[in-house]
């Protein structure tokens, strides 16, 4: 019997030991990466909508203010998706026979709601409130990205807890003057750090301690 294993097995066995360890770690890292990838978060994924509504056109080109449609954004937890009526305000006269607007007109006729596909989907147990962010100088684009350049809206941020925390831990980075909140093209000035600090005190932003309490977002 003597030699059971061939010369090569020495290398093979050692190699496999190391590669096993390597692969396990690789798998773990992979898992964590997938968890943060658009596959899980739907970040940057554009969705087909029943009506190919273009924010680029309405906001970017026509310059319609966010609040014209998203009426709740300053007062309520939710910005609100506009009722068909809002579309018809204009489209009863503009493009009022464009075929691609048929679903709108049909909805208005039949009193059947349009089924928009949801783009921004927070965890079921997160209680996000638009109004307080808007009122405290957090701009739309800080979370939603440059909507005015999106033909079809996609989710610009991961919307994961660590992402929320990044801002709740140091809000100053995102604070802007109130009149800039709805400005999609606002970019942080060079001295954002100090401006942010100033605004933070001006707006009476709560301490990081308070902003990172569980019950701030979870109930």
């Amino acid at each position: 019997m003597a030699q059971i294993f061939h010369h090569s097995t020495n290398f093979i066995s050692r190699f496999s030991v190391f590669s096993a360890i390597f692969l396990v770690n690789l798998a773990l890292i992979g898992l964590l990466t997938v968890a943060r990838s658009p596959y899980m978060t739907n970040q940057n994924v554009t969705r087909e909508q029943p009506v190919q509504f273009s924010h680029k056109h309405h906001v970017g080109d026509d310059g319609i203010d966010c609040r014209y449609c998203h009426t709740g954004v300053e007062t309520s937890a939710v910005a609100g998706i506009p009722p068909t009526k809002t579309c018809m305000n204009c489209h009863s006269v503009l493009y009022n026979n464009a075929s691609y607007l048929e679903p709108i007109r049909e909805s208005y006729r039949t009193d059947e709601s349009i089924q928009w596909v949801k783009v921004h989907r927070l965890g079921d147990f997160v209680y996000f409130n638009h109004s307080i962010h808007v009122n405290k100088g957090v701009g739309c684009s800080s979370c939603h990205g440059k909507i005015n350049q999106m033909p079809l809206v996609f989710q610009a941020s991961s919307l994961q807890m660590e992402w929320c925390l990044s801002c709740h831990r140091n809000p100053e980075q995102a604070l802007r003057p109130r009149d800039q909140v709805f400005n999609m093209d606002w970019t942080a000035p060079a001295n954002q750090a100090e401006i942010g600090e100033k605004l933070k005190t001006e707006y009476k932003i709560r301490t990081t301690d308070e902003l990172t309490n569980c019950s701030t977002c979870h109930r």
């Binding site: 059971i4 294993f5 066995s13 964590l32 968890a35 994961q160 660590e162």
Partner: protein, 461 residues
């Protein structure tokens, strides 16, 4: 002089009883032990035992599936008794595990030669017990599929486990304990695997054992490092084994529940663990040496020593019981006082007295040599102690919870069918693993037996 002439009962000679019957050579021990794995066909008894274990294992699978589907509500737990059989069994199994490490590590450090013939399967027992124990912390949670929250990984929530919680300590203690025991056991196995490789007749076996032995060739240089590694492992496993059950006891002593919140717990849990562990070793060793006639290797001396250890640890446990009472009364904390009274004449008093009977009264028989050397008695005794130690955990975990601070919330606990099936299921897992183990791996460390042979032969020279 030779075995048959020696009068077995005269004390001072008995004390010299060997840890291995004389007349053995390197070859003979090797043959005898490796034969069990390599040549001897599996007996009918083995198949029978395995069948029992395996069917119980099936019960476990079903119980777990049903648990996952329905939720922990299928068990008897409720408010206020949030922990029931699951935790009782967890602590019980972990406790059993301890004897293995203890025998292989501490006795090794103390250079107790008699450990050699029992440490291998004692270690195996440890691993399997830990496996059984490991089932519970996971499944007893309300959402097992979320249990990974307990591990410190960089989650997308940017939040970490809560390291002040004894349960997190458990996670680390138990997993470390499992890993180290496995390493220790495997390192011990390497030379024997080499032996099996060299004695195996069929190619597949040669390859399997060959792979497992990693090409061990008994080089003196290897032995040199091997020994220091093994010694270090023993040195590390010793504090580990003590820490693990201390940590388990923290689950209770760190809380504020009357009957849990006691400083005596760590030492008394460790003692209890060793106590039940040795009981279990006996429960396994006695049939093992019988069926595979290993009486020459696992001699009366082993059984007796273990019996003595049981007696000693049993007394420590008794001391623990006593002090639970004493401290409660001495501290005059109304909640503790009330609780210890409840133990004596509460709704669960029978369990408490049963526990005293099993753990304190019965083992007193071990003061007598006759009893210590009577295999049948030892076997029964070991079972009794196992039951007793299970009861102890039941008394501590469950009964303390039934009577805590606010009387309006007092309740009672009674296990359901699924509590029992899960418990029996883990016993099935244990049996199955043990039976597989004796078939595929040497139940006694051959290499160390050879050392023993040299020593004994030297003694005889």
């Amino acid at each position: 002089m030779s075995a048959e002439q020696r009068p077995r009962d005269s004390p001072q000679i008995r004390r010299l009883a060997p840890v291995i019957e004389p007349g053995h050579t390197y070859a003979s021990v090797t043959d005898k032990i490796s034969a069990i794995v390599l040549t001897r066909p599996a007996s009918l008894g083995w198949y029978a035992g395995f069948a029992i274990g395996f069917s119980l294992l099936g019960v476990l699978t079903i119980s777990l599936a049903w648990l996952i589907i329905k939720g922990v509500g299928i068990w008897g737990i409720n408010a206020p008794i949030g922990w029931g059989f699951a935790i009782v069994n967890f602590v019980w199994w972990i406790g059993i595990g301890h004897a293995g490490t203890l025998i292989s590590a501490i006795l090794f450090l103390l250079n107790q030669k008699w450990r050699t013939s029992i440490n291998r399967f004692a270690e195996a027992m440890t691993l399997f017990a830990v496996a059984c124990a490991g089932v519970f912390p996971l499944i007893h949670t309300g959402r097992p599929w979320m249990a990974f929250y307990m591990f410190p990984y960089p989650s997308t929530m940017g939040i970490w486990p809560q390291f002040r919680s004894p349960l997190i300590w458990d996670v680390f203690a138990v997993s470390t304990y499992g890993t180290v025991s496995l390493l220790f056991w495997y390192v011990g196995l390497i030379p024997d695997l080499a032996t099996l490789r060299d004695r195996a007749t069929s190619k597949p076996r040669q390859i399997i054992y060959g792979m497992l032995s990693m090409g061990w060739r008994g080089s003196a240089r290897h032995w040199h490092r091997y020994q220091s590694a093994y010694l270090l492992l023993a040195g590390l496993a010793t504090p580990l084994v003590l820490s693990v059950h201390s940590v388990i006891s923290f689950d209770f002593s760190v809380s504020i529940v009357p009957g849990w919140h006691t400083t005596i717990f760590p030492p008394y849990f460790v003692a209890g663990a060793i106590y039940s562990g040795f009981a279990m070793v006996l429960t396994i060793a006695i049939p093992l040496r019988k069926f595979y006639d290993l009486e020459e290797f696992i001699t009366m001396r082993h059984l007796e020593n273990m019996a003595q250890v049981m007696l000693a640890t049993g007394l420590i446990v008794a001391y623990g019981y006593f002090f639970e009472f004493f401290m409660a009364l001495y501290s005059n904390n109304k909640f503790d006082v009330f609780l210890v009274q409840q133990r004596l004449h509460g709704p669960y008093a029978p369990y408490y007295f049963a526990l005293i009977l099993c753990n304190i009264l019965t083992p007193q028989l071990l003061w007598f040599q006759k009893m210590r050397t009577n295999v049948a008695v030892l076997f029964v005794m070991s079972i009794v102690v196992n039951v007793g130690m299970w009861l102890e955990r039941f008394v501590i975990v469950v009964i303390s919870l039934t009577r805590d601070f606010v009387p309006s919330a007092w309740g009672r606990y009674s296990p359901t069918f699924w509590d029992w099936s899960t418990f029996l299921g883990t016993i099935g897992l244990f049996i199955t693993l043990i039976f597989l183990f004796v078939r595929v791996l040497p139940a006694i460390s051959i290499a160390e037996m050879r050392e023993l042979v040299t020593h004994t032969s030297e003694e005889h020279e």
